[in-house]
């Protein structure tokens, strides 16, 4: 399954892109994190949350293949 992943703020600085696609099947959010930390080891030292379909999800959540995003700590306002 092809995943579309968005990166923001500090996370986008580490990945050096704001969006990319990855191939991953029958995976959970935890699996995705492992793949991404493998690709971008610096992520391991950073705080971030993952949103799927614009909702924050936890490690156990199954990936449904729709919009995913890595979000560093919020600092609006």
């Amino acid at each position: 399954m092809q995943l579309n992943i968005k990166y923001f703020g500090l996370i986008a600085e580490i990945t050096t892109c704001t969006e990319e696609t990855l191939e991953l099947s029958n995976a959970t959010i935890a699996d995705l994190k492992n793949v991404l930390i493998g690709k971008y080891p610096e992520l391991n030292t950073k705080d971030f949350q993952i949103a799927q379909n614009k909702e924050i999800v936890s490690n156990e959540t199954l990936i449904s293949g729709e919009e995913l995003a890595l979000l560093p700590p919020f600092s609006g306002g």
Partner: protein
């Protein structure tokens, strides 16, 4: 008076005092309102380890943020007796002294607006995926974290 579709809360650049003044003026036809409460977030020239912040560059996961702003609006109208509510957030580079957040609530009664405004601002800080990059005078930067 809540609407059902997420609006776009984001404005490119700083929020001007004229924009705020005009927004206040538009409420003078609503003669059931007795109290307005307005929160403005202004960019501080903080001194961080000897370097002074000259601006904050705001980016956001806009689609998700607009959904979250919409959810916050709906929840606020549920909890408090408000006549209307407006939220605007800046994107892009906002200089120290400029305004980057404008939250405006109105009600027949003052007790409601105080509680509602603080609720809305705290919810925005906690739930809206907006990211501020503090730019120093020497053009280095540091990512801001809400406290």
């Amino acid at each position: 008076m809540s609407d059902k579709k997420p609006k776009n809360v984001f404005i490119e650049g700083a929020i001007s005092s004229e924009f705020i003044g005009n927004s206040i003026a538009k409420h003078q036809v609503k003669t059931n309102i007795g109290a307005h409460n307005i929160f403005l977030g202004q960019v501080r020239a903080d001194n961080i380890e000897g370097k002074v912040v000259s601006a904050i560059d705001y980016t956001a996961y806009q689609d998700m943020a607009n959904e979250k702003f919409h959810e916050i609006r709906e929840a606020t109208f549920e909890k408090f007796n408000l006549t209307c509510m407006h939220i605007y957030h800046s994107l892009g580079q906002i200089k120290a002294g400029e305004i980057c957040l404008f939250v405006f609530v109105s009600s027949p009664r003052r007790k409601e607006v105080f509680k509602a405004l603080e609720y809305v601002v705290e919810e925005i800080k906690a739930k809206a995926p907006v990211f501020g990059k503090e730019i120093f005078e020497d053009e280095t930067h540091k990512w801001k974290v809400n406290t």
